[in-house]
């Protein structure tokens, strides 16, 4: 022990906690060297210092601080015991444990991939169903549009027919089915002045799309194409068609009306099966 008055003079300052930096370290080193004089002085001064600090007006300490410090201590204790435990236990080489960890990792990646694939598949199916729905919607709209067009045409046709029936003069002839179409019949009503007429048929069978019915007028022994039409499924018995032809003249000038079944594009001369015929002026 080497006493030094320099440190004796610092005992009071150190006791107040007012010594800092290298002075503090040197002082502590001196006290640790068991200098009895300074040690005794310090013990005395720390008691006084404690008294002074304790005599000061107190501040309110938040109760949470106690919990915080004790919790930190508990945490440090757990960590410390965990480190000690690790240090005490022999280290076992992970010969068996490593592969399952890898396998676990691989399984995780695999599951992740499967999940991603399922998500992509689900998303694709969702998009596909959306596209299908859009197609269906578009198709529905087209159907509705065509129905509207059809109804508009029909309405226009009906108006034309009403106008025709109101007009004067009118010619009317009755149509009879051929042998193969004996239950079929019809009428042709026309105004020879306006050159507008209407064809009404009954019980004409529906025919495939590649075929059409064609109405001919025989005049001066020559067939004249008047109208090409087909019979739809939704019409049950009767069908009415508007005829606009400059050839629709006086009844006595027309020799015969015939309806044949032709190919889709229609024929130049009657060449298909005869369905209905009526002779006006044989």
């Amino acid at each position: 022990m080497n006493h030094d008055d320099k440190y004796l003079r610092l005992c009071g300052v150190y006791a107040l906690g007012a010594l800092d930096g290298s002075d503090q370290k040197n002082f502590e080193a001196h006290i640790q060297s068991r200098c009895e004089i300074c040690g005794t002085e310090l013990a005395k001064f720390t008691e006084i210092s404690d008294v002074l600090y304790k005599s000061l007006p107190q501040f309110h300490v938040q109760p949470e601080l106690r919990e915080r410090i004790l919790f930190s201590a508990r945490l440090a204790k757990v960590v410390k015991s965990s480190i000690q435990k690790t240090g005490e236990e022999p280290i076992v080489l992970p010969t068996v444990e490593t592969p399952p960890q890898k396998a676990k990792s691989q399984w995780f990646v695999l599951i992740l991939l499967v999940a991603v694939l399922i998500m992509i598949l689900g998303f694709t199916m969702y998009i596909k169903s959306l596209l299908n729905k859009m197609d269906e919607q578009r198709e529905f709209q087209n159907t509705q549009q065509s129905l509207l067009t059809k109804y508009a045409d029909k309405l226009e046709q009906q108006n034309a027919i009403v106008q025709l029936l109101k007009s004067y003069p009118l010619e009317i002839i009755k149509l009879d089915g051929s042998l193969s179409y004996s239950n079929c019949s019809g009428k042709i009503i026309w105004n020879p002045v306006n050159k507008v007429g209407v064809l009404q048929t009954s019980n004409l069978p529906t025919i495939p799309d590649e075929n059409v019915y064609q109405l001919w007028m025989i005049k001066d022994e020559k067939p004249i194409d008047i109208l090409t039409f087909s019979v739809s499924d939704d019409s049950t018995d009767e069908n009415i068609f508007l005829i606009l032809s400059k050839e629709l003249g006086e009844k006595n000038q027309i020799e015969e009306f015939i309806i044949t079944r032709e190919t889709r594009k229609g024929a130049i001369i009657p060449s298909g099966e005869l369905v209905i015929s009526v002779k006006l002026n044989p």
Binding site: R9, G12, G17, K54, L56, R68, K77
Partner: protein, 177 residues
């Protein structure tokens, strides 16, 4: 004088042994006993609640994690905690570059024991009486350090003396007390 802070060494030894055994109740007891004083010391230096709380946490956890760091210099755990708290608080203040303004201090308006600070027990009464026995200069120095949280350098600047003179007056004052 003796008080609750300066425990006899046997008691300190016992509680230190319990801390070495990681008994949380020992730390809790120390905290309950010393935290008001230590918090006051830290607050006077740092003047920041969060910083003061951090200092207290550091001090108690140092004792908890490294109980051997409490070297018995012939001082109690309480004194060790006081010195440690104060020196840590000063170090933190200096590291943050936040200094009190020594030139703004009005020496006529500082007092260790204010008029409204009545002694709460016989012990404090004795301290107040003893404080009156030291010189006004020594009273100012102890007030600036303990009550106002100034460093020795600040005190030397305020009083326009050297740090050695401050050291000397502290020692003389404490001897009288």
């Amino acid at each position: 004088m003796s008080n609750g802070l300066s425990k006899i060494k046997n008691e300190d030894f016992a509680i230190l042994e319990r801390i070495k055994q990681a008994e949380e109740t020992a730390l809790a007891e120390l905290y309950d006993q010393y935290s008001p004083v230590l918090y006051g010391i830290a607050m006077r230096v740092l003047r920041s609640i969060s910083d003061a709380e951090d200092i207290l946490q550091d001090v108690f956890l140092q004792l908890w994690n490294k109980p051997d760091s409490y070297q018995s210099f012939g001082i109690s755990i309480g004194s060790w905690l006081v010195i440690n708290t104060r020196s840590r608080a000063v170090a933190k203040m200096l590291s943050k570059g936040v200094r009190h303004q020594p030139h703004q201090i009005d020496l006529n308006n500082i007092t260790f024991f204010s008029a409204e600070h009545l002694p709460q027990n016989e012990f404090q009464s004795k301290v107040i009486d003893a404080f009156k026995k030291i010189t006004p200069d020594q009273q100012r120095i102890l007030t600036l350090i303990c009550h106002e949280g100034f460093t020795i350098d600040d005190v030397a600047q305020i009083l326009k003396v050297t740090t050695e003179q401050v050291h000397k007056r502290i020692t003389e004052g404490l001897r009288i007390l």
